[in-house]
Symmetry: C2
Subunit: 325 residues, 2 copies
C-alpha cells in the first residue's frame, strides 16, 4: 500500500512548483503583473485538490503539476480581470494589478496569463491531453458565465436563491470540481470515480462560497484578512442579502440602505447585520453549508478507493466548512 500525502505536504509541493514558474519574458511590463499576482499567495486550494485526487490512486503526484499550475494560474487570471471589472483596489492586502500598472496592462497581462494557463496544461501526459483540455475549457467558460451573472446581479434587486446558487456554482465551485476530476483522469480512475470527485468538489465549492459570504459579515477581521462588512457596503447580492430581500418586512429598510449614497459605514453594517440576525440568516446559511458538506461527503463515500486514502479529503472538506478564515 502506497503512502498518502497530507494536505500540508501537498501544499508544500504546490508552493514549491509555483515559485519555480518564471515569467522573465520581454516586455517585462506585461509579465511582471503575472508574477506579482501569483506571489500574493492564497489558499492554493485548487492545485492541492488536483494532487490529492491523483494521490488517491497513485503516488508520483508531480505528474499532475501541469494541471495544478494551469488551474492556479487560471484562477489568478480570473482574480486579475475580476478586480479590474469590480474596480477593487486591494487583493490580499496589496494593491491590485490595475491600480499598480493601469487598466490596459491589467487587460493585457490577464490575457497573457490565460494563455500561460493553457501553456501549462498542455504539458500533461499526451494520453490524457484531450479530455483534460476539454474539461478545462468548459470550466473556464463556465467561470466567465459566473462572473457575468455576478455583475448582472449588481443591477438587479430580484435575484432568487436558485439563481444565486447557480452563479456561485459557476463562479467558484466548478473549478474545484475540475481540479479534482482532472487529477482523477490522469491517474486513470474510472469515470464513476472521476464524476464522484467532481461532484464532491462542486458541493465543497458551494459550501465554501456560502462560508465566505458568512465570514464577510460574522467573521473576525483579524482572521478573515478582509474588512468585515465589505459585502454589505457594496450591496453584494449574497445568500444573506437575497434572503433578507425576500422578507417583505425587511425589504423597505434594506432598500433604503442600499439606495443611500451617503451614510456612516459602521451604521450601515450594524443595521443590515441586525436584519440578518432578526431573520436568523446566520443559522440558515450554516444549515445550507452543512447540507452541502453532507452531500460532498456522500460523493466522496462513493469513490471506490480505500477509506484510509480518502481521509485527507474528508478532513479538508470539514476544515473548509468550519474554518474561521
Amino acid at each position: 500500500m502506497g503512502s498518502t500525502y497530507t494536505f500540508e505536504e501537498v501544499l508544500g509541493i504546490v508552493n514549491k512548483e509555483i515559485l519555480k514558474t518564471e515569467y522573465n519574458i520581454e516586455p517585462r511590463s506585461l509579465f511582471e503583473p503575472i508574477t506579482y499576482i501569483l506571489s500574493l499567495g492564497g489558499k492554493r486550494l485548487r492545485p492541492a485538490l488536483a494532487l490529492m485526487s491523483y494521490n488517491l490512486y497513485k503516488e508520483d503526484v508531480l505528474r499532475v503539476i501541469p494541471i495544478a499550475l494551469a488551474i492556479e494560474v487560471f484562477h489568478n487570471f480570473t482574480l486579475l480581470h475580476d478586480d479590474l471589472m469590480d474596480r477593487a483596489d486591494m487583493r490580499r492586502g496589496k494593491p491590485t494589478v490595475h491600480i499598480k500598472w493601469g487598466d490596459n496592462t491589467a487587460v493585457l497581462s490577464g490575457d497573457a496569463m490565460l494563455i500561460e494557463a493553457y501553456k501549462e496544461i498542455v504539458k500533461v501526459d499526451p494520453v490524457y491531453l484531450k479530455p483534460v483540455l476539454d474539461l478545462f475549457s468548459v470550466t473556464a467558460t463556465e467561470i466567465c458565465c459566473g462572473q457575468q451573472y455576478d455583475m448582472e446581479f449588481e443591477q438587479r434587486m430580484d435575484v432568487t436563491i436558485p439563481e444565486y446558487l447557480e452563479m456561485i456554482r459557476l463562479k467558484t465551485a466548478v473549478l474545484l470540481g475540475c481540479a479534482l476530476k482532472e487529477g482523477a483522469i490522469v491517474a486513470g480512475a474510472s469515470d464513476a470515480d472521476a464524476d464522484n470527485l467532481y461532484d464532491f468538489g462542486i458541493n465543497v465549492g458551494l459550501g465554501f462560497q456560502l462560508k465566505d459570504d458568512l465570514l464577510d459579515v460574522y467573521g473576525d477581521s483579524t482572521n478573515f484578512g478582509k474588512r468585515i462588512g465589505g459585502d454589505i457596503l457594496c450591496n453584494k447580492k449574497t445568500f444573506l442579502l437575497i434572503n433578507a430581500l425576500e422578507d417583505n418586512a425587511s425589504k423597505s429598510e434594506l432598500m433604503e440602505w442600499i439606495s443611500k449614497a451617503e451614510y456612516n459605514e459602521e451604521d450601515k453594517i450594524k443595521a443590515v447585520t441586525a436584519i440578518y440576525d432578526k431573520l436568523k440568516l446566520k443559522e440558515k446559511s450554516e444549515e445550507l453549508i452543512r447540507k452541502y458538506y453532507q452531500k460532498a461527503i456522500n460523493c466522496l463515500d462513493k469513490v471506490d478507493v480505500d477509506k484510509g486514502k480518502k481521509n485527507e479529503l474528508y478532513s479538508l472538506a470539514e476544515h473548509l466548512m468550519s474554518r474561521i478564515s
Copy 2:
C-alpha cells in the same frame, strides 16, 4: 494530380464555416458580442492562409477548419480587447464592443472568446494536437507582447525602426506565419516546408502592415474604408512617423504638431503629409514593402511543392502588397 482551390473558393469555405459558429449560450449578454464582432467581416486572410497552406499538399481542406476558426476567433478577440485598450469607437464602420456593451462586457466577452479559440483548435486531428497547440500558444503570447510594445510606443518619441519592425512582426506577422505553418503541419508537410511557409507568412505580414500604414496616409478613403490620416491625428508611431522623427530638420515641426492639444484636423494631416512627401517616405515605404515581398517569394520558392499548386499563394502575396484597400 489534385485540384487546388482558388483564394476566392477558400474564402467561400471559410465564410460558410464562420457563419456556422454559434454562440447561443446563456448568459446571452456574454456571447452576443462574440457573434457581433465575428459578423463585422474583415479579410478572413488568416483562416484562408491555413486552408491554402494545407491545400498545397492535400485536398480535404475541411480538416484545417478547427485551426482556421481558432485563428480567426483569436484574431477577433485581439481586436476586441485592443479596441478597448485603444479606446477606439468604431471598427469596420460599426460601434466597437465596449461602446455597445460597456467596458466590463468587453473584458469578459474577450476572455470567453479566447477560450472559444482554444475550444476550436482542440478539434484538430489528435495526432497533430500538441504541435498545433504549442505553436498557437507561443503565437498568442507574441501577439500580446506586440500589443504591449505598441501601447508603450505611444508614450515614447525615440522608437527606432528595428523596434517598430519587431513590434509589427509580433502584433501582425506571426499570426499569418502561424496559420500557414499549422496548415502545413496537419497536412504532414516536412519541417523545412512548414518553416518556409512560416517565413513566407512573416514577410507577407510585415509588408502587409507597412502597406496598411501607407494606405492610412496615401490611400483613398472610399477604398480603404477608414478615414485617411487617422494615424497622423493620433500620433501613431508608424514607419512613416518614426522615419520623419529621425530627420533632424523635420523633428521640431513634427513635435509641435504632436504636442498641440487643439488644431484643425485637416491642417495637421496636410502638414505632416507634406513632411512625409518632402522626405520621400512613400517611396521608402514602398521599397521596403517590395523587399519583404521579394523575401516572401524566395521563401515560397523553397517550398517543395509543384509550382502550379503554389500559384494562388504567389498571387495572393502580390495582391496584398499592391492592394489599394
